[in-house]
Amino acid sequence: MVPTSPRRPGVASNPLGWLTRSSGTWLPPLLGTGGFLLLWQILSSAGVIALPAPSSLFTEERTRTLILYPFYDRGGLDKGLFWQTMASLSRVAQGYTLAALVGIAVGITIGLKPTINRAFDPLFQFLRMVAPLAWVPIALVLFQKNQPAAIFVIFITAIWPILINTAEGVRQIPQDYRNVALVLQMSSRRFFTKVLIPSALPYIFTGLRISIGLAWLAIIAAEIVMPGTLGIGFFIWDAYQQNYVGEIVLGVIWIGAIGLVLDRLMAWLQTRISPGQ
């Protein structure tokens, strides 16, 4: 008999017991999601709704190919979901990075200078109410090409929460910290790196996290109206034009999953960079 190292009772030796004890955390979401899918399945099978049932994503050949081969590439726009997603994500990355840079810079400026804030606040409040889709025709007129226009739509959608939250974060720097900087006669650069940025960081991250979701929503909207673009948005539109309803459903699920991953990624980054503040 092989001697085994002593085990903590009930943890590794009895995985079933562990599953039962932690059921409070995994059971409700499982039941909720499972129930929803089951209801959908029943309603589609009974013909109450025109959408294909969830199970058809695996039984239908077109969607099964898409699920099983995300990396296929037959040239042009006929590519796997991975490539479609990467094309969309790279647009998001470009527009979002631009929005973060400009949003944080302008946010700090208007946070520090009340006069500049008063000058531009009405304009900002107005512009942030314009829906992403409404920017598409303006962007196409401005840039004449799909790719820069799409990036502009991301930029203009994502910038407002970053800008407004950064400005608020700068305004919320406690007077005590400002007084310390005053009495120590800190240089502006030192105040910026040692006081302003760390103090406003939680606000900046709140803005960044709201914006990543908005940017992802905007890219789908932008791609749908920009024909001939590789990306998950146009993929759905193309599927609709050709009446592949299964592909639409698959595309939508894919979009939701990516959005969720992006949001979680930002939340994780936030806990790493500004812990416990």
Partner: protein
């Protein structure tokens, strides 16, 4: 009882134009919607170099305003506060403040908070020296062990120690403390009072400290400034506290003069200038 008698020739130098820090007919008036509101009215006072001065008075009597005019966060409406013959107009590291809410930067460790202060005030000092000063001042307040802890991991007393270490590390001429021990428990409070006295003895900076605690003032101060009630508060009395230094709390409390002075201060605060609660 001689506590109220100003020393004439010997002892502390009498207030003169040569004084280290002087309040010259200082008034502070704030404009309000219902007309001007006078906080302080005609304050005249001289503080000697190296003196430990406590200010006591009921809330709203303008104690903080008075000290803010030394730190430079506030300027007098009329009159001036003069340090070394120069009127004070803005904050500066020669008049360091231990803020009421500690005002430590929570994203830094205790060490980094102290280091940042030295690095801001004396950026040209060699890094080795800056590190040495930081360690030395953290050791003075007994925080060598906790130097690398983040501010949020420290207790109130430890935070106040960091704030004092930070203030003293930049070697100010005047140290301003606004009710530094008000939020601390009795034991921590006494410990910190003793530490503050020890450090003050080695550095000999001038200390201006607001307190609500008569015993604290009697233990720490050379002179105790008692303010009348606001609005338009004035200096009511200045009490000389001549216990020999270094002071020992038990010895002082056995001295009958201690109770005379204590009663006199209590009488000032609770009989002659009792706080008007109907307001």
């Amino acid at each position: 009882m001689s506590t109220l008698l100003q020393p004439t020739l010997a002892g502390l130098p009498s207030p003169s134009t040569e004084a280290f820090l002087r309040f010259e007919n200082v008034s502070k008036v704030y404009p309000t919607p219902t007309g001007p509101y006078t906080v302080l009215d005609g304050i005249d006072m001289a503080v000697n170099q190296g003196e430990f001065m406590c200010v006591i008075g009921h809330s709203g009597c303008g104690k903080s305003t008075l000290l803010n005019m030394v730190s430079g966060f506030s300027t007098p409406s009329s009159g001036q506060v003069v340090l070394h013959g120069n009127a004070i107009t803005k904050p500066g590291p020669d008049r360091m403040v231990v803020f009421q809410g500690y005002a430590l930067l929570p994203w830094f460790s205790a060490y980094d908070n102290v280091y940042l202060a030295i690095d801001s005030v004396k950026p040209d000092l060699p890094a080795v020296e800056k590190k040495e000063i930081t360690r030395e001042h953290l050791a003075m307040v007994g925080l060598t062990e906790a130097a690398d802890k983040k501010i949020n991991q420290l207790s109130g007393g430890m935070k106040q120690r960091v704030a004092i270490a930070r203030a003293l590390a930049i070697r100010p001429e005047v140290l301003i403390l606004d009710e530094p021990f008000g939020a601390l428990d009795a034991i921590t409070k006494e410990e910190l009072q003793e530490e503050l006295l020890t450090i003050w003895n080695t550095q000999k900076c001038t200390v201006l400290m607001i307190t609500h605690d008569i015993d604290e003032a009697l233990f720490l101060a050379d002179r105790l400034v008692m303010m009348t009630n606001g609005p338009a508060a004035k200096i009511g009395e200045i009490m000389e506290i001549n216990f020999p230094r270094p002071r020992n709390r038990e010895e002082i409390m056995e001295d009958p003069i201690y109770y005379d002075m204590r009663n006199q201060a209590l009488d000032f605060l609770y009989s002659r200038f009792a706080h008007d609660d109907t307001e």
